[in-house]
Symmetry: C2
Subunit: 284 residues, 2 copies
C-alpha cells in the first residue's frame, strides 16, 4: 500500500512538473525570430528540445531542490531545467554521422537528418552554451550568485571532460568493455555524471550545505549508474553482463537510498524515483 | 614619439602576458592523464589550444580588468583565459567537414585531420564546457561569486545563439552578404560578440560598475568589427567592400576609443590595442 501510494504520488508530481518544465523550455526558447532565424538554428533547437521526453534529469534536480528547501522558486526551476539543455545537446551531437551515426531519435529523424550536420553541430553548441546562460541569468536575478555559481560548476564538471564528454570519448576510442568494472566506469562517465550534476544543481540552488550536497551527489551518481544498467537491460545491450548488471542495479539503488538517510521524510520524492526504477526493471 | 612609445609598451606588456596565459593554459590542462586519455581527447585539446596564437581575446580581457582594477589577480586571470577556450572550440568546430571543411589551421592539420571528426567534435564540446568550469571555479575560490557569475553570463551571451553561434549559423545558412550592412551584421555576430564578451569578462571580474561595463562592452564590440574588417583586408575577402571597409574600420576604432573616455589614462593599454589595429592596416 505504501509503495502504491508513493508511486501514485510520484506520477502526479511528475506529470505536474514535467508540464511546468515543458512550458518553461517553450517560453524561454520561443519559436520565430526577429531576424529570420538564420540557418534555421532556433527551429532545429526547438525540434529536438521540445520533442516529447521524460525530463528525468530536471525532475531529479527539482526533487533535490525540494529535498533541501521544500520548494523551488522560478530562478531555481530555470537552473534545474538547464540540465535538460545539456542532455539535449548531448543527444544531438551523439547522433552525428562522425559519432554514433543515428538517423532516428525516438522515431523521428535525428536533428542532422531533419536539418543538416552543420545545423546540428551548431544547435548542440548553442544548447550547451545556453545552459550556462540560464544559470547565470537566474542566479543574478535571484540575488544568490554563490549558490548558482556552484550549480554552474557542477554542471560543467558533470558535462565536460571529467564526465559526460570523457565517457563519450572513451566509448568512441576504446574497445567494448569486457569487464563489469570497465562497463560501470563507462556508465559512470557517460550517464551518471550528468545525473549527479542534476542533483548537485538542485542542491546548490536550494542553498544546500556541503554535507547535503555530497549526499545528493552520491544519490545522483548511484541512481545514474543504475539507470544505465536498467536501460541496457531494456535494450538487451551488454547482454553478457545481464545477470551481474541486475544485481549491481539493486546494489546501486540501495546505496542511493542510503545516501538520503540524513534528510528523513524530506527525501521521500527521491526515494520514490529510486523505487520506480526498480519497478521498471521488475516489470515483465 | 608618443605612438612609438605606446606601441613599444604594448609589445612588452603583450609578450609578458601572452607568456603568462600560455603557461596558465598549459598548467590547467596538463598533458598525460591518470587513466590513459580515452579517445585522445586531452591530447587533441592540447594540440589545438597550445598551438602558437596571439591570445588577443584574453589579452583584451586582461587589459579591461586592468583598466577597472589596476591589476588582475590569479582568479581574474583564469576567467580572462577562459575566453581563449571558447575561441579555440569555435575554430575546431568551424574547421569540421560539415562546416567550413578546412584541412589546415595555421599551417598544421586541423584538429579533425590530426585526430578524427568525432574527437574534434568532443574536443570542442569539452573546451566550451571547460570555459564555464574555469570561471565558476575561479569565482568561488576568489569569494566574488556575483562578479564571476556576471562574467559567465557575458561569455554565454557572446558565444551562444545571440552571438557567435548565431553568426556561424547565418554564415552557413544565408547567401554571401551583398551590402555593407549585412556584412557588418555578420562581423558583429561571428567575431565582435566574443570580443565584446572578452572585455565584459575582464570588466566583470574586476568589479566594474554598470557604466564601466557598458563602456568596455562598447569598446569590445567596435574593436571586434574593426578587427574583422582588418582581417578581411588582409585576406582580400569581401574585396567589393574593401574601400568602404577601410573607412568603417577607422570609424569603429574612433568609436571604440571614444567609449574609453571616462577611464582617462587608465585605459591607455586599450587605446594602444586600438592604435595597433590601425597601424596593422596602414602597414604596406
Amino acid at each position: 500500500m505504501k509503495t502504491d501510494g508513493a508511486s501514485a504520488d510520484l506520477a502526479t508530481w511528475t506529470a505536474r512538473w514535467r508540464a511546468e518544465i515543458d512550458a518553461l523550455l517553450d517560453r524561454r526558447l520561443p519559436g520565430g525570430d526577429s531576424d529570420g532565424d538564420p540557418g534555421r538554428l532556433r527551429e532545429s533547437i526547438r525540434y529536438s528540445l521540445l520533442a516529447p521526453g521524460k525530463r528525468l534529469r530536471p525532475l531529479l534536480a527539482l526533487a533535490a531542490a525540494e529535498t533541501v528547501a521544500g520548494a523551488a522558486d522560478e530562478p531555481m526551476r530555470v537552473a534545474c531545467a538547464s540540465v535538460e539543455l545539456v542532455h539535449c545537446y548531448s543527444l544531438i551531437h551523439d547522433d552525428l554521422p562522425a559519432m554514433d551515426d543515428d538517423d532516428f531519435r525516438r522515431g523521428r529523424p535525428s536533428n542532422h537528418k531533419a536539418f543538416s550536420e552543420a545545423t546540428a553541430i551548431l544547435a548542440g553548441d548553442a544548447l550547451l552554451t545556453l545552459a550556462f546562460e540560464w544559470i547565470a541569468e537566474a542566479g543574478l536575478r535571484a540575488g544568490r550568485p554563490a549558490d548558482f555559481l556552484r550549480a554552474s560548476l557542477a554542471l560543467a564538471q558533470g558535462a565536460g571532460m571529467g564526465g559526460m564528454v570523457r565517457g563519450q570519448a572513451r566509448d568512441l576510442g576504446e574497445a567494448v568493455p569486457t569487464t563489469l568494472g570497465d562497463l560501470e566506469r563507462l556508465h559512470d562517465e557517460k550517464t551518471a555524471a550528468l545525473f549527479r550534476a542534476a542533483l548537485e544543481i538542485g542542491a546548490a540552488v536550494a542553498g544546500a550545505d556541503e554535507a547535503q550536497r555530497a549526499a545528493l551527489a552520491r544519490f545522483g551518481q548511484r541512481y545514474g549508474v543504475a539507470f544505465q544498467h536498467a536501460d541496457d537491460l531494456d535494450d538487451a545491450d551488454h547482454v553478457s553482463f545481464a545477470g551481474a548488471a541486475r544485481d549491481r542495479l539493486h546494489q546501486h539503488i540501495a546505496d542511493a537510498v542510503t545516501a538520503l538517510a540524513p534528510f528523513g521524510a524530506r527525501a521521500d520524492r527521491l526515494r520514490a524515483f529510486a523505487q520506480a526504477l526498480l519497478q521498471k526493471v521488475a516489470a515483465p
